[in-house]
C-alpha cells in the first residue's frame, strides 16, 4: 500500500512540476518544451513500477518497467538479431522497393490525365484497405523468410506512395508551367526543375506514412509464419510462453526503431524541402 501511495505522491509531484513549467514565460523556453513531456513520461514509468509492485500484479499480466529493462539488457543479442531480421531485412528492403515503385508509377500516372483519373480513385481505395491481409498469401508465395515480409511491405507502401506522388505532381500552377514553357524547357527539364521539387513535400508525406506501415507489415506478416527469428515471431512465441517482459522489450525495440526511422525521413525532408513554408517555421 505504501508503494501505491508513493506512486500517487510522485504523480502529484510530477504534475505540480509540470504546472510550474507550463506557466506563461517559462513554457516558451526550449527546456520546458522538452522537459515537460519527459517529466510526464518518467512520472508514468515510476507510477507503473510502484503500482505493479505495490499491488503485486503478477508478471504474466503486467511486468514492471525494471523487469522489462532487465530483459532488454539480458537478451540484447536476440533483440539485435530480431531487429536485423525484421527491420533491416524485411521492412527496409520492402520500404525501398515499394516506395521506389510507387514513386515511378506516380510519375507515369501523372503524365496522362486518363491514367490519373483512373489510378487515383483505385489507389485511394487500395490505400484504405486492410492490405495486411495479403500477408498469408505472400507468405505462401515467397516462403517464411524475410522475402515474404518485404513483399507485404512493398504492397502496403505502394499505394500511399503512388497517391501522394500523383497529388504532388499536380501541385505546380499554370503560371509556373507557362514560365517553364517560356524558358523553352523540355519535358524532362521541367520535370526535374519544376514538378519534382514541387512534389517533394507530398512525396515526403507518403514516405513518412510508409515508415509506420512498413514496420506494421513486417511484424504482422511474421504472425503468419516466419523462421525462428524476427520481432513478430518473438512477440507471438513469448506471449505463448507468458514471458511478457520479453514482449515488452520487443515493443521497446519496435518503438525505438519506428521513431528513429520516422525521424530519419523527417530529417531528410527538412534538408530537401527547406524552402517549404512548413519547414521555415
Amino acid at each position: 500500500m505504501i508503494l501505491v501511495a508513493a506512486a500517487l505522491v510522485i504523480w502529484a509531484l510530477g504534475w505540480g512540476l509540470n504546472l510550474t513549467l507550463a506557466r506563461d514565460g517559462v513554457a516558451e523556453t526550449r527546456a520546458a518544451q522538452i522537459g515537460v513531456p519527459v517529466i510526464f513520461g518518467i512520472t508514468l514509468l515510476l507510477m507503473w513500477e510502484l503500482i505493479v509492485r505495490g499491488l503485486n500484479v503478477p508478471g504474466v499480466i503486467l511486468p514492471p518497467p525494471s523487469a522489462v529493462a532487465a530483459a532488454f539488457a539480458k537478451n540484447g543479442h536476440i533483440l539485435w538479431q530480431d531487429f536485423v531480421q525484421t527491420i533491416l531485412k524485411g521492412a527496409l528492403s520492402g520500404y525501398i522497393i515499394g516506395c521506389a515503385a510507387g514513386f515511378v508509377a506516380g510519375i507515369f500516372a501523372a503524365r496522362s490525365d486518363f491514367l490519373r483519373r483512373g489510378l487515383l480513385p483505385v489507389g485511394n481505395f487500395a490505400a484504405a484497405l486492410p492490405i495486411v491481409g495479403t500477408a498469408p498469401i505472400l507468405v505462401m508465395w515467397f516462403g517464411f523468410d524475410w522475402q515474404s515480409k518485404a513483399a507485404v511491405v512493398t504492397v502496403m507502401v505502394f499505394f500511399p506512395m503512388l497517391v501522394n506522388t500523383v497529388a504532388g505532381l499536380a501541385e505546380p500552377t499554370a503560371m509556373q508551367r507557362d514560365l517553364m514553357h517560356t524558358y523553352a524547357a523540355g519535358g524532362w527539364q521541367s520535370l526535374r526543375k519544376l514538378d519534382l521539387p514541387a512534389a517533394m513535400p507530398f512525396v515526403f508525406n507518403g514516405l513518412k506514412i510508409s515508415t509506420t506501415l512498413a514496420l506494421i507489415g513486417a511484424i504482422v506478416a511474421e504472425f503468419f509464419g516466419s523462421p525462428t527469428v524476427g520481432m513478430g515471431f518473438r512477440i507471438s512465441t513469448s506471449v505463448g510462453q507468458l514471458a511478457l517482459d520479453m514482449v515488452w522489450a520487443e515493443i521497446v525495440v519496435a518503438a525505438l526503431a519506428g521513431s528513429a526511422f520516422f525521424g530519419l525521413v523527417a530529417l531528410v525532408e527538412k534538408w530537401v524541402t527547406f524552402w517549404h513554408p512548413s519547414q521555415r517555421g
Binding site: 504474466v60 489510378l119 486492410p130 505462401m140 526511422f261
Partner: protein, 305 residues
C-alpha cells in the same frame, strides 16, 4: 463520366493482368493433375517439370491454360473463382452458418465498431482536455504524436492473452485493440480542429463576452468537424485492421482474421482471397459511410467545401 471510364479501364487492366499471372503461377499444379487425368503433357513427369519456368510450361502446353483458372487449390485463384466463392459464402449460405462470410464479417465488424466508438470517444475527450489545459498539451501531445510513428499493433497479441488470463474474452479484447488504433489519429486530428478557429473568430467571441464553454460549443466544436471527419476515416480503417489482427494470435474461430489464418494453415487459397475481399469490401463500406455522413453533416452546417 470520363472518370468512370478511366476507372473501369484501370480495373479491367488489373483483372487482365491477374488472369495472365494466374497461368504461369498455377500451371505446374494443373499439369500434374491433367497428367493424372490422362492428358498429353509436354514434358511428361512432374519431376521433369520442376525446374522449368511457368511461362515455358504454359507455352508448351497451351491446352492446359484454361485449367489454371479452375483449380481447386491454386497458387493464385482466378478472379471469377474468388467472386464465385464470395457469392456462395455470402448469399447462398445461411447467415448463421459457420461457413458464411457474413457471419465472420459480422464478428469482425462488431468488434471494429465497438472499438471505434470507444477510441473516438476517448480521443475526443482527451483532445478537449489538451486544448483547454496547457500543461496537458505540453505533456501529452508530444507522446500522442510520437505514438503515431510506432507500430503499436505489435501490442495486439499481448493484449489478447493478458485480457484472456484475467478472464476477459470474446469481443472486448479485439475492441480494445481497435480502440487504441483509432484513438491517436482522433486525438491528433481533433486537437488540430479545435485549434483551427483563427484570431479574428476568437476575438469576436471575446467581444461578445462569451464564456469558455460557449466558445467551445459555438465556435471550437463546429469548426473542428472537418478535421474530426478526416481522422474518423483514418480511424475506422485502422480499427478494422486492428480487429482482424486481433483475431490472429489466439487462433480465434470466427472472424475475417480467423478465416485468413485458417486458410493459410490449410492451403485454402480461394478462402484466403475471399476473406481478403470481404475485408476490403467491409473497409470501403465503412469509409464510405463515414464520408457520406461527413458530406451531409458539413453541408447542413454550411461547412461544405
Amino acid at each position: 463520366m470520363k472518370s468512370l471510364l478511366a476507372i473501369l479501364s484501370v480495373v479491367l487492366v488489373i483483372l487482365a493482368i491477374w488472369y495472365v499471372a494466374a497461368v504461369p503461377m498455377n500451371i505446374a499444379g494443373s499439369l500434374t493433375q491433367a497428367e493424372r487425368g490422362g492428358m498429353e503433357v509436354n514434358p511428361p513427369g512432374a519431376a521433369e517439370r520442376r525446374d522449368i519456368s511457368g511461362w515455358v510450361l504454359a507455352a508448351n502446353n497451351p491446352q492446359a491454360i484454361p485449367l489454371t483458372w479452375a483449380e481447386k487449390r491454386p497458387v493464385l485463384p482466378a478472379p471469377h473463382q474468388v467472386a464465385v466463392e464470395l457469392w456462395e459464402t455470402t448469399v447462398l449460405k445461411k447467415v448463421t452458418s459457420k461457413r458464411s462470410l457474413v457471419y465472420h464479417a459480422w464478428v469482425t465488424l462488431s468488434a471494429t465498431l465497438l472499438g471505434f466508438a470507444i477510441g473516438t470517444g476517448l480521443g475526443i475527450v482527451l483532445a478537449v482536455g489538451i486544448v483547454h489545459s496547457k500543461v496537458m498539451d505540453m505533456s501529452v501531445m508530444p507522446w500522442a504524436i510520437v505514438s503515431q510513428t510506432i507500430p503499436i499493433i505489435a501490442l495486439a497479441p499481448m493484449i489478447i492473452v493478458v485480457l484472456y488470463s484475467i478472464g476477459v474474452q470474446g469481443i472486448i479484447p479485439k475492441a480494445v485493440i481497435s480502440a487504441y488504433l483509432s484513438f491517436f489519429p482522433v486525438v491528433v486530428g481533433m486537437v488540430k480542429g479545435l485549434r483551427s478557429p483563427d484570431r479574428m473568430q476568437t476575438d469576436l467571441m471575446h467581444t461578445y463576452n462569451a464564456s469558455k464553454t460557449s466558445t467551445f460549443w459555438k465556435l471550437r466544436l463546429p469548426s473542428s468537424l472537418p478535421y474530426l471527419f478526416a481522422s474518423l476515416k483514418v480511424g475506422i480503417a485502422a480499427s478494422l485492421v486492428g480487429a482482424i489482427v486481433g483475431e490472429l494470435p489466439t487462433g480465434a474461430r470466427a472472424g475475417l482474421g480467423a478465416r485468413l489464418l485458417a486458410g493459410s494453415y490449410y492451403g485454402q487459397t480461394v478462402q484466403i482471397w475471399s476473406a481478403l475481399f470481404a475485408a476490403a469490401i467491409l473497409a470501403s463500406v465503412l469509409v464510405g459511410i463515414v464520408s457520406m455522413t461527413e458530406r451531409n453533416v458539413l453541408r447542413k452546417m454550411g461547412l461544405a467545401r
